[in-house]
Amino acid sequence: MDSSTEARRADALEGFRDGLPVLFGTVPYALVMGVAAASAGLTPSEAAGLSAFVFAGLSQLAAVDLIDQGASLAVVVATALIINARFTMYSASIAPHLERLGRGWRYLCPFFLIGPVYAVALAAYEADRPAHYGWYMLGLGVPSWVAWVVGTVVGMVLGAGIPDEWQLGFAVPLVFVAIVTQFIDDFGTVAAALVAGGASIGVVGLPFGLGLVVASVVGIVAGVVVEWGGNGIGSGEESGNGGGDGGEP
């Protein structure tokens, strides 16, 4: 074994070690993903394919939820991509670090950018720790990806054996509850959440899963208005009945 193989292995191993805490969050989330996919009637290969190719939990859960409601293809894809548009922010901050890599690496590495992987990789790159940024990313990202795909299928199988009265599907909104708190950190995001939550109750009758899109857009507009307005009054009217208590579960 030559020294460069040795160095690659060391970088991948460092990425793997840094990524171990990420797995603790990924595994339960993946199990829930499997439960959600099963209750929406997806086959194991469809669920595994979704997790393997998309590798973005929030958008996957939303897509599966919409498929279960009989939403159209356009609404499913549009909703998932709206949710994943935030990855452009990850991309912007990590792209300068990937410039030193070859073309293949630059196309491959971004695939692994789920939130926690992004955070760990950015910290390592900014400290200029790994010798090869690509091998480090593989060591960090591949185990999470494997855990995500395998966990989805395992969740599907386990979920099928548990009686309905245990309401295992309730774990899906619980995952969303756990994640949404990370994105709410000022008046603008509070307004976006409350108004979108209230609006989602008001538009619950809309067909094809359109209610989610409408409620989300109303919430985003409310967030922007509150931020621009500064004092944050007036945006709550958008949501009508439901209003404040709608978004705060």
């Binding site: 998309v54 996957q60 309730f170 509850v177 708190t181 967030g223 579960p249």
Partner: protein, 110 residues
């Protein structure tokens, strides 16, 4: 409802390509555009809070399609406890575990 395989796989591929494009976007744009324009950035950061809450709210607040705010709605109560746990621990596993246990307490014991 069980969706057609064609719809599911088309959705999977379209979402996969689009998601990868978002993640790789600034790798392509580097040199032309070095950061997300501030105006776009301001809109982007509201998306997760709005979309996720719009998914959660009906699942906690509606029982058989109508608004149910009160002690009879065990999902709302379990969800409220989960919000507190999520806020203080920022831990997915703890949030799921406590939320499910509270729900089971209501369903099986009360």
């Amino acid at each position: 409802m069980s969706a057609s395989a064609a719809l599911v796989w088309t959705a999977v591929l379209a979402i996969a390509v689009g998601t990868w494009a978002f993640r790789a976007s600034f790798v392509f744009l580097f040199g032309y555009l070095d950061e997300v324009p501030p105006r776009v950035d301001r809109v982007l950061r509201f998306i997760p809070a709005a979309v996720i809450t719009a998914i959660i709210a009906p699942r906690l607040l509606l029982v058989d399609g109508s608004l149910a705010v009160g002690p009879g709605n065990e999902r709302l109560l379990a969800g409220a406890v989960a919000v507190v746990v999520a806020w203080y621990t920022e831990n997915i596993f703890a949030t799921i575990a406590v939320g499910m246990v509270v729900l089971w307490l209501f369903v099986f014991l009360l």
